[in-house]
């Protein structure tokens, strides 16, 4: 190998220096600028977080840095210096050499970034072998070392496996190991945890932090989640419409968000601890698209503090306090004082007396048949929902929390009778609907409506918005005049103007589509709405808007709302009661305050600990992260299903399945050895 001697990075020296980087897409005649002058420095040994919503240009910035811009995008100006060496315009060969040994890359989707027909061990070793930096034996040893450092169990076995035999978390470990095998100075990670469950995300973030400390590798971490970045980054840069609008040390940035956009993001971030209000502070409007950028500061149309100058001139990134911000208001007078309590304090009214039960499910079971492992083997069953009992009162909000595969979406469809239940019963509005069919079931459906996760898949692409919202009315035989009036009203309620009524779904943004989905759900005035991860595919600044919308509608129409999410922070924000699901069963349920502040089940505790938050907020609180992945629902562990991941598991847990019980109150848990007062109190202390 002949490559320039790599100087060992001095801590604090600038490793990556991006200056006024500009990227454009589209035809040369009318280029669309997507990165409009980004400057950032990553110093050796630091973790730099780049925050932005989709379309903010964060991924394009990263791709320009490592020379992997997609076809049609090109660098139109600026420089990228790595260890003082200019990367823009350098040869492909040199770039690929650098990517092999000085810059490691990790992408969001570990399934597509791993070669499916290559064993993990060889795959991890590939950069070493390609660049001739090690012989087979050295490589094997280093691969083992790296995978062990990644927390990969049973490394000897793992290196012989193929990517599809691993879970998402394990695959992401392997890709990070691949990126780090040549001990690069810089690791670029583009949304590395976005596709993972919260407990696995916490593990991966922990690994990133450890690698940073032990190997001294600098990390450029790209994410749309402020929580993730604030957890491990030393410095954060916030991108909006192709530029960095604020950058600085994490703590200074979070405590003094001098740019209104940063401030709004910090304010709209739901927390796992601390005060719980009914509404989040949300930013109005939507991020501009690159072909319709406003004049002046690109954020000013959505900014509450905008002054005349903001609409005329684009501010430069200059020192404001401890961070750098691009904001005229911050430079001139500064923003008004930042409320330390991040969430508006109008506490949720507690419903005094429990009202009539709207829906009661008893011992629900739903199995999926999957083909046996061999040709003639019997079908096996996935116990997606395995004996769930719950009840929802009129006007109540119930949050169902769990990781992917825990059966929460299946449960939602069972409750709505969209799939049949194998066992158990569902009582809705006083009548048993478990085995209802035909017209009787169709009549009942008017009173229970779903809201879906994916705003792209949930709207019929061939119908205009007005027809989509009108469908439930039309199929239930409403008169034409009433349909028109109700559709108009529903669209107004969800904040969609009349102009949008004739648009088709593909002409709408993700947030607008989700509003259409909500309008369709409320247009029949149902008593119950089941929302399955309704915000998880939306952008940061849109999420808070939709949560607030759901909250307002729930209050206004006295809806019973079942809100399903993997994100405990959001459920906690919106719901009065929480049920935590693990592998088809409810393991803990009760009033939100009790469950979040005094969790008794070890899994709930782990979920709470996995919520990413700034290290200076977390302080010395023990994290209690979970080891490994959730067990397969095909062959759940005997006894308590959580025992294989549980720190407090004992012999009895393997033999007897704990029932969901408590001390006679509303707070119930399914654990033989529930967390005692001490452990819970620790959480509680920080909850104050």
């Amino acid at each position: 190998m002949t490559h320039p001697a790599v100087t060992p990075p001095r801590p604090g020296a600038t490793l990556l220096d991006v200056g006024d980087l500009q990227v454009a897409v589209g035809p040369a005649r009318q280029p669309l600028p997507v990165v409009r002058g980004v400057s950032l420095q990553v110093r050796a040994g630091e973790i730099f977080g780049l925050l932005g919503e989709s379309g903010s240009g964060k991924s394009m910035t990263v791709h320009a840095i490592n020379g992997l811009l997609p076809a049609g995008a090109r660098v139109t100006g600026g420089s990228v210096k790595f260890n003082g060496e200019e990367l823009i315009g350098t040869s492909r060969r040199r770039l690929s050499q650098l990517r092999g040994d000085s810059i490691g890359m990790v992408f969001q989707d570990s399934l597509t970034s791993l070669n499916p027909i290559m064993r993990i061990g060889l795959q991890v070793a590939e950069p070493l072998l390609l660049h001739g930096k090690a012989n087979a034996r050295q490589a094997r040893q280093l691969v083992g070392e790296r995978l062990r450092a990644m927390g990969m169990p049973d490394v000897h076995e793992a290196v012989r496996r193929y990517p599809h035999e691993f879970s998402g978390g394990m695959r992401q470990r392997a890709t990070i190991a691949t990126a780090l095998i040549a001990t690069p100075q810089l690791l670029i990670a583009d949304e590395p945890t976005t596709a993972l469950d919260v407990t696995v995300q916490a593990q991966i973030l922990d690994i990133c932090r450890r690698l940073n400390q032990e190997l001294g590798v600098a990390i450029l971490l790209i994410s749309h989640d402020l929580g993730v970045l604030s957890e491990i980054c030393t410095t954060i840069g916030v991108m909006y419409a192709g530029r960095i609008v604020q950058a600085g040390p994490t703590r200074a940035l979070l405590e003094h968000p001098s740019h209104p956009y940063t401030r709004a993001l910090v304010e709209s971030m739901p927390r796992a601890v601390g005060a719980r209000g009914a509404r989040l502070k949300a930013i109005g409007g939507e991020p501009p698209s690159p072909d319709a950028l406003p004049a002046g500061c690109k954020f000013h149309p959505r900014c509450a503090f905008a002054i005349a100058r903001c609409g005329a001139e684009e501010p430069a990134l200059v020192d404001v306090g401890d961070t750098r911000a691009a904001c005229w208001v911050a430079q001139a007078t500064g923003l008004p004082a930042f409320a330390p309590d991040l969430i508006t304090a109008n506490a949720r009214p507690q419903s005094a007396a429990p009202r009539e039960v709207l829906l009661a499910a008893t011992d629900l079971k739903h199995y999926f048949a999957v083909p046996g492992e061999t040709l003639f083997a019997r079908h096996r069953h996935v116990h997606a929902v395995d004996g769930v009992s719950l009840s929802i009162h009129r006007g109540e909000t119930l949050g169902i929390v769990g990781e992917s595969g825990c059966g929460k979406s299946t449960l939602a469809r069972c409750l709505l009778r969209l799939i049949d239940v194998e066992a158990g019963s569902i009582e809705f509005m006083g009548s048993d609907i478990t085995h209802l069919g035909g017209d009787a079931l169709r009549r009942i459906r008017q009173h229970m409506q779903p809201i879906f996760q994916d705003p792209y898949a949930s709207l019929n692409p061939r119908l205009p918005v007005a027809d989509i919202v009108a469908e439930p009315l039309a199929v239930n035989g409403f008169a034409t005049a009433e349909i028109a009036a109700r559709v108009r009203e529903a669209l107004e309620l969800v904040g969609l103007g009349r102009a949008l009524a004739s648009r088709f779904p593909h002409q709408l943004s993700g947030g607008q589509r989700q509003r259409v989905g909500i309008a369709r759900a409320i247009v029949l005035r149902p008593a119950l709405i089941v929302a399955d991860e309704p915000i998880s595919s939306l952008d940061l600044s849109i999420q808070a808007q939709i949560i607030n919308l759901l909250h307002d509608l729930q209050q206004r129409f006295d809806l019973a709302l079942v809100f399903i999410s993997h994100d405990l922070r959001i459920v906690r924000q919106l719901c009065a009661r929480i049920a935590v699901m693990f592998l088809g069963k409810i393991v803990e349920s009760g009033p939100t305050e009790d469950v979040c502040a005094r969790p008794r089940h070890h899994y709930t505790q782990a979920l709470l600990a996995s919520v990413p938050e700034p290290s200076f907020v977390r302080g010395r609180r023990a994290r209690g992260l979970l080891e490994g992945d959730p067990p397969s629902p095909l062959s759940p562990p005997s006894g308590c299903r959580f025992r294989t991941r549980c720190a407090g598991a004992q012999g009895r847990c393997a033999e007897v399945e704990p029932p969901l019980a408590g001390n006679g109150g509303a707070h119930r848990w399914a654990c033989h050895f529930p967390l005692d007062a001490d452990v819970s109190a620790l959480t509680e202390e920080f909850a104050q």
Binding site: G72, P287, S289, H506, S509
Partner: protein
Amino acid sequence: MAAPIARPARLLAGAAGWLSNAEMAVGIVIILGWAVMIAAAPLIAHFDPLQQHIALRLRPPSAVHLFGTDQLGRDVFARVLYGGRESLPAAVAVVAAGFLVGVSLGAVAGYCRGIVDDLVMRFTDMMLGFPLIILAMAVAAALGASLAHGIIALAAVWWPHYVRVCRALVLDLGSKDYVVASRAAGRRPAGILLRVILPNALQALLVMAAIDVGRAILSFAILGFLGLGAQPPQPEWGAMVSTGATVMDDWWVATFPAMPVLTLAFAFNLIGDSIRDALDPWVGGRRQ
């Protein structure tokens, strides 16, 4: 990267792009060219396609007889154009019949699943197990050779692959959230299939049908070549190639009737490919 606000309707956005797409443009020009010539046959061709002039037999192409004359002294140019009046509508009829039968069966199989699905699909598999053109030959031979019987024979074997594709589309669309939403809104099963699922599946199926016309022309020519399609003296491309092949030295007799078959099959394939590219988000140039 760009916010999805401006994500265009695939089909509509395609339409503008298609004409600038060279493959598409070539395909359309070829098909339109033949269609216009065939439609205007009485105006363009100066000879009766059936009129025999034994004295003028096997004349090479000239200013009078553009494509020359055949063994019976008939004008090949006129016969090619008039032959299209049999072949093209026949091909469209075959595809239309196959489409109707296949899509109906596929939709029912995909939506009902269970025993209906099993029955329909195993029968379809059985049909697909035969080499289709041989099956069509058997049917045509059994019915007796004629143009109408050729159409029936091809239509009888044309539907199975529509069943497969339609069933797959219906299965896929059936699990889409917007279909579930329709069910949750209280739409009846028949309404969901006919009003929600099929309109969304139709686009892909129509594309498939458009491509298929080329294949049908080809298959029809094969039947004709084997003497199982239109009967003499009716002009038909396949039959004309067949009789022309007996006088290979007089190359124009077989070559010119083969031209429309070749170019039309080619053109329909070109169009099919470009439509598929335009509709496929992974091949088509959807900017990320």
